[in-house]
Structures are given as C-alpha cells and as structure tokens.
C-alpha cells in the first residue's frame, strides 16, 4: 500500500496551534506512508487537485487527510480520491481541527496529538478495503407528515414535480397554524387568502393522497423503500359520503365544547368542521364530548345527515403506505403559558396567547373579527403585549428564541389600532428581533405610525384591579418601574416542539434535540436533511420558523426528494456488515439484536448461517459487537481496524 498524508492548515484555523509541516514530516515514519505534505486548504479546489495529482504522481493507493471533522468533509475528499481513480473507501480523515486545534492552544501538545490522530487514521486505512455499492430500486412516492404550510408546500412541489404524494395530517383539516392566523407580517395580507388556494390545490391535485385525522403508527424499511403504517383515526363520519353541508353541525345538541381550532376561546359542536375553508371539508365527531358516545343516546346527526354518512361504530384503521422518502413537517406547539403563574394565565380570562388573539382578530373567529375580551365581551382599549413568554428563558428550560413573536406582536398592535382606533397597545420586550426583508421597517411602523408603546423590560406580575388587569414591569431603558392598567393582556407564547415529536423521531430513526426539535444533518449545509437517508425536514419541526422560512424549507425538502428520485436505482451504502460464512456458527444472536431486521437466517450446506440483507443494513455494527466469534464484521469498522487503532494508541 502507498499512503499519502495531507495535513491541512485550514488557513490559520489549524496552523495557528498545530505545526502542520512537522506533523506531515513525522507521518513519513508511519508504515506505508510514502508521501506527506501540508496544504493550505485541503478542501479547496487547489487543495483537492493537489491530492488528486499526488495520487497520480506518487501512485498512492490510500489517502489520509488531517483537517476538520469527517462529518464535514469526508464526502468531499471521498469524491476527490474517487476522481483520482481510488475507491472512495481507501480514505481516512484525522480530525485535527475540531478535536485539536480549536480546543487548546498548546502548540506542542496539539502537534503531538495531531500526529497521534494521523497515526490511527493510517493504521485504519492500512486495513481498509475497497467497497463497492450495490444498486436497488426506488419507490417514487413520498410521504409528507404534517399539513401545515411547510407540508403543503412540500406536497405541492413534489406533486407538481410528478411524484405521488401521501400527505398525513393529524387534525381533520390541513392548514396548520397558518390557517388560524388573521393577517401575516410584514405585508398584512389575509392569511387564509394566501393559504386557502394552496389548500384547495392539495385537495384537487391528482398526485396527492390526503390522510387527514391520521397519524403515523410505525415505519419500516429504508430509503427508497419505506413501509409506513398510518393510523386513520375514527371520525365516525363516512367521508366518502359527507358533503360538508353542515346540517349536522347546526343540529348537534352538544354545542358548548371548547373549540380547538379557535384555541379554546370559543365553543363548538361535538360534530364539527373546524372552519369553512377546511380541506377536506368533512365533519368528524369528537367522541369525548358527543352525547351518543358519552351518554349512549342522541343520534341527532345521524338523523339529519342527508347522505347517511354517520358511522358511530367506526374504528381506527391502519393503512400501509409504501414510499421512497419521507418529509417530516410536523410544526410546533405553543409554550404552556400556565407555567408562568405570575402572568395570571388560567386565573384571569383576559390573559390570552397571541394565537388566541389571532382568532379574536379573525373574521372567521368566534367573535366574527371583533375584538372582544373573553371575560365580558367588552372591547378592550388598553392592550398589553408581553414578549418572550417561554422563549429565551433559561429558568424555564426554554433558552432559545422563538423567532417570530416580535413580528407577530408588531402586526397585532397594528391590527389592534385598525380594529379599535382609540386603543393603545403596550409591548414589553427584551430585544426586538426583526432580521428579515421589510421586517424591521414593519416594527418601526407599529411604533411610529400606529403608536404602539414599546417598553424594554420584563413583566414581574399581572394582577386584577376591578375589571382591569394591572401589569407591573420594569422599563430598563428609563430605569423605572412601570404599571399599566390593561383591558387585555396578550402573551407572546414561545414555540416548542410539537407534542409527540420525540416519539415520531424515534419511529423515523432521526435525532431530536433536548427540546424535541428534529436534528438536521448539518446546521448550515444540510438544513433539511437528516442523518437517516430518505428522511427530510421542513418547517418548525426542526426549530421555530416563520411562514416564509417554512415555505422555503417545504420547497427545499421537495427539491431534495425530487433529486433523490431523479435516479431509478439508488446505490446502497456498502459500509455494511458482512458474514464470514466459514466462521458463523448460526447462533442467531446478530439476528436478535439487529434493530433493522437486516439479518436473516439461511441454510448453507445443511448448516444455519446468518446473512445480511444489504439494502436494509444501516451499518451500525451492533451485530459485530454481539457476535462472539467475530464472524460478522462491519465493513470499514472491522474489529481488526479498531484493534489496530487501539494498538497504535497503546504502543509506547
């Protein structure tokens, strides 16, 4: 083997604390290293060309690059060595930036440690073997989980691109959070006017199958060939027959249920269609409140339904959808404002969330678009908005910024002034975060044109005084305590991961952060990919996003899916486990522990043996550490490779 070692300066990122030339020179003492050099930016075009040229000139058969983390540039360099004619697995990286130069300033120790990391990379490379991927077919259907604006965008883009799309929505209608909004910033155009047509497009698109009121039950398979079991929850209404006429809603005797679509500030019937533009516009029965279910008798809706669509005996149904890719667009939920008792939520009805305020503003909301406070239906004059409720607050384990609250609060002050010209809005804020096109101008308009009074400071408490609420807080700019008498208090509740997100992540075999937001593959370079091939992210499930960002991600995820499906055959990752059939004793321990059911028992000359299903194996190597005789080995991370690394580090 002829190994070349390339030690990257990364400008001064590495060279600043590592003597890269010394490392390169010293690696020449390592076995089979015939060429070593330091290079300014290994990943740059000249850097890569240098590697390719060296492979050709020095007849290198393996390459080690000591630079940044392989999680960043391993694919880059693998492609480079491949361009030079080597198998892409005849390449190893030593991470001397994130793991060395950036975490300490001692040049001697760093140089020495870098050399050690190259040493183990060389020892591993010496035991690498070329791996060649095999090909398998792709099922060109995509599942989008979540029918908010991000999911809708992804579904439409995929469908327009010619793909078959399965859209799964937990609620009985798509639309998500955006459907609940009155107007959108910074243009103040009507939310349902811009979302509605897209929802209709979903309903009418021949390539889109919509499973509303449904949830993902389990996911099997792998990129190109997932099998997703979808639980269609019982609606007790045959949607084939339901025309959405609304007769049942009119007659339903159970009318006082909190309306989830209206954020529980208005009532609804037990059989319901959430809002007039719902897609699908089909009724469903909430069995927890319906008299037929609760008391065992009623049956009014069944009697009035002109098409006879009511089915009280309906049960949940599981349908299996075979798809080649999945986009998770499950959105977010709101921080529970009751967790901050000082603000009086739950105690005082006139302390509401921003989203509830949206419903009060909306013409299709419970008040018909007239701002009436929940307690007595009076029109409020003094309205206090409190920012960062459940955002940027370490004490609540919500240290992150929810991103869009500053903007919607500004929008709401503007809309308030439009609705009630003699009103006064006050906004308690920490910082105003408005880094978008026309965003900062928008917040300025709220203050300057619409007279919203912005007070920089936190609110200490809200307490009642007569039918008013007293809001006591600090004005940190003035350095004074302020107290404002409010008719209505609107809390900008922060965004948090959608309920059930971690469970879904586990089904999808993707990671999520400690708050339940899904982890993207790379925070900058792979924002909509995940570490599980064929699973993509769109919208707020990855972290709080406003509408344009969500739509952008929906399209981005769709582009990824379209790119994935542009090939008829996918290449399987050859970095999988392989069985040495001579040494396998057929005990089946690997089969028992494989999380992917990627190993099966076969019979070979009358003896039981294990066999790896190439396309299913994900390359975790649990089998390798389970097999007592080491007969199943994970390629590229074989026992001998790891042992060689261990030995290299243990040698004195």
């Amino acid at each position: 083997m002829r190994i070349g070692v390339f030690v990257c300066h990364c400008g001064s990122n590495i060279e600043g604390t590592v003597d890269t030339a010394a490392v390169a020179k010293a690696t020449l003492e390592f076995p089979e290293v015939v060429y070593a050099t330091d290079t300014m930016y290994a990943c740059s075009e000249p850097g890569q060309d240098g590697i390719i040229q060296a492979i050709k000139e020095k007849n290198l058969t393996g390459v080690v690059v000591a630079s940044c983390t392989p999680r960043m540039h391993e694919p880059t360099f693998r492609k480079a060595v491949e361009r030079a004619g080597l198998n892409r697995f005849m390449f190893e990286m030593a991470n001397i930036r994130e793991h060395v130069s950036w975490i300490g300033k001692n040049r001697e120790a760093n140089t020495n440690k870098s050399l050690d990391l190259v040493r183990i990379a060389v020892e591993k490379l010496r035991r690498d073997a070329p791996l060649i991927p095999s090909k398998f077919s792709v099922n060109k259907r995509v599942m989008i989980i979540g029918g908010g604006v991000a999911g809708i965008q992804a579904a439409l883009d995929c469908a327009d691109g010619g793909l078959q799309v399965v859209l799964v929505e937990r609620e009985s209608t798509i639309g998500g959070k955006m459907a609940k909004l009155d107007k959108t910033f910074p243009t103040v155009d009507c939310s349902s006017c811009i979302l509605g047509p897209k929802m209709v497009d979903v309903a009418q698109h021949p390539n889109i199958t919509l499973h509303a009121y449904s949830e993902v039950d389990s996911i099997g398979g792998y990129v190109g060939n997932f099998q997703v079991k979808v639980k269609k929850k019982a609606t007790y209404v045959d949607w084939e027959l339901c025309t959405g006429c609304g007769a049942c809603i009119e007659k339903c005797p159970s009318k006082k249920n909190p309306d989830a679509f209206n954020e529980k500030i208005g009532p609804c019937t037990s059989i319901n269609i959430p809002f007039p533009q719902a897609i699908p516009k089909k009724a469903y029965i909430d069995a927890t409140t319906c008299r037929q279910f609760v008391k065992g008798k009623c049956g009014v809706c069944a009697k009035v339904c002109p098409t006879g669509a009511i089915r009280y005996d309906m049960t949940d149904e599981i349908v299996t959808e075979d798809v080649g890719a999945i986009v998770a667009a499950t959105g977010y939920d709101l921080f529970d404002i009751k967790k901050i008792p000082e603000y009086g939520s739950g105690t005082y009805p006139d302390v509401i969330t921003g989203l509830q305020y949206e419903r009060l503003l909306s013409a299709s909301g419970p008040t018909g678009g007239h701002i009436k406070r929940p307690s007595d239906g009076k029109e409020p004059k003094n309205i206090v908005f409190i920012q960062c409720v459940g955002s940027r607050d370490k004490s609540l384990d919500r240290p992150y910024c929810s991103g869009f609250c500053c903007m919607y609060t500004a929008k709401q002050t503007i809309l308030t002034k439009d609705h009630i010209p003699d009103s006064q809005s006050y906004v308690f804020y920490m910082d105003i975060r408005s880094p978008g096109k026309m965003y900062d101008e928008f917040t300025r308009r709220a203050m300057e044109e619409y007279g919203a009074r912005y007070i920089r400071g936190r609110v200490a408490m809200v307490y009642p005084k007569g039918d008013k609420l007293m809001v006591r807080g600090a004005d940190t700019l003035a350095g004074t305590q302020v107290e404002i008498e409010a008719d209505l208090v609107v809390l900008a509740a922060g965004a948090e991961a959608a309920k059930g997100a971690p469970q879904l992540a586990e089904k999808l075999r993707i990671s999520y952060d400690k708050y339940g937001f899904f982890m993207e593959s790379h925070p900058k370079l792979k924002p909509v990919e995940t570490n599980t091939a064929g699973v993509y992210l769109a919208g707020s499930c990855q972290g709080p996003k406003d509408i344009p960002q969500s739509v952008g991600q929906g399209s981005a995820a769709a582009a990824k899916v379209l790119a994935l499906f542009s090939k008829d055959m996918l290449e399987s990752d050859p970095q999988i486990s392989r069985v040495d059939i001579k040494r396998c004793v057929g005990c089946g321990k690997c089969i028992m522990t494989c999380p992917f059911k990627a190993i099966k028992e076969v019979e070979f000359r009358g003896q039981k043996k294990a066999e790896v299903i190439e396309t299913v194996c994900q390359g975790c190597g649990i089998c390798t550490s389970t097999c007592p005789q080491g007969a199943i080995q994970l390629s590229h991370f074989t026992d001998n490779q790891i042992l060689a690394e261990v030995n290299a580090l243990c040698q004195s």
């Binding site: 983390t69 392989p70 999680r71 960043m72 991470n95 930036r97 994130e98 793991h99 060395v100 950036w102 975490i103 300490g104 300033k105 001692n106 001697e108 120790a109 760093n110 020495n112 440690k113 050690d116 990391l117 040493r119 183990i120 971690p502 586990e506 075999r509 990671s511 999520y512 952060d513 400690k514 982890m519 570490n531 599980t532 522990t593 999380p595 992917f596 994900q618 390359g619 975790c620 190597g621 649990i622 390798t624 550490s625 389970t626 994970l634 991370f637 026992d639 790891i642 042992l643 690394e645 261990v646 030995n647 290299a648 580090l649 243990c650 040698q651 004195s652």
Partner: protein, 162 residues
C-alpha cells in the same frame, strides 16, 4: 511519542459518529478548551463498541477509556446505545475484579448539540485519570507486591478448601 511524557496520560475515547463525535465537533466549533490527553476513535454507534475493546485497551496499557454515545432513546440506529448501556455497565463493574480501577473507564451520553457538556465530560474524566495517575500494568506488577500476593495465596491455598 504517543503522549507527552509527564504531561499527558494515555486516554482513549470511543465515540459514536452521530451524537458524541458530533458533540466533540460542536465543542471544537465553540472553541471550548479541553485537555489534550484524549484520543478519539470514531465508531458508527456506541452499540458497535464491544466491551472487549475497552478491556483490551486498558490491559494493553491505556490509562483511561471514555465511551460516549447518543442519549438513550436518541440513538441514530434506534437501539445501539441501549445494548451498549448494558454491556458497558457490566464491563465497568467487571474491571475491578481484574485489578483495574473502575475509575479508569467511564461511559456517558453526549448529543451532537452538547458541545459544552462534552467539554465538561472530557475535562472531568481527564482530571479523574490524572488523579489516578499512570495505570499499573499486568506485565509489570511490582515484585514486592507480587511476592506479597503470592505469599498470601500459597498460605491460603489456591482454592480455599473447607
């Protein structure tokens, strides 16, 4: 010279690619200062780590071994760290009977986002190993200690007969 004599001890880390290796990267990106003793071996999953690798590393002269994987329930491969947790815990409890200080091995969970946590783990573990000092070696047991133990064995008998 693998470690800087007198300054560093030989600490080997086995990190899963998806979480902890990423966490160490995150720590690097955040420029979170760490001791330089640790050498990281990247593996796909903590489930790939045969406890025997750790035993081998310690018996062959490493002063400490640190394993880190994804937090339970957060394994990229769904279940790898669940198996790892059992196996590593069994190993950890096994080491002292061999005569290896259990403090020389530890395992933990660090996610890709937990750069600061990684810094804390590395710093604490490195300190712990420095407190324990260079590991004694099976092939270099001090003659006096050997004589003492041998004496006790020949007196008490190899196996204690009732």
């Amino acid at each position: 010279m693998p470690v800087l004599t007198g300054k560093e001890l030989r600490i080997v880390g086995f990190l899963c690619n998806w979480c902890s290796y990423g966490g160490a990267d995150t720590a690097g990106v955040g420029r979170f200062n760490q001791p330089t003793d640790l050498r990281i071996i990247r593996v796909p999953c903590s489930g790939r780590i045969d406890p025997l690798f750790i035993a081998k590393t310690l018996i062959n002269g490493a002063d400490g071994v640190l394993v880190s994987g994804c937090h339970p329930r957060d394994c990229h491969y769904a279940e790898g760290n669940f198996y790892a947790r059992r196996r590593l815990e069994v190993l950890k409890r096994f080491l002292p009977i061999l005569g290896i200080d259990p403090g020389r091995f530890d395992y933990t969970w660090v996610s890709a986002s937990e750069g600061q946590r990684w810094q804390k783990v590395v710093t604490a573990f490195t300190e712990q190993i420095h407190t324990l000092g260079p590991a004694p070696r099976f092939d270099a047991v001090a003659p006096e200690l050997l004589a003492k133990v041998a004496g006790a064995i020949s007196q008490g008998g190899n196996r204690v007969a009732a």
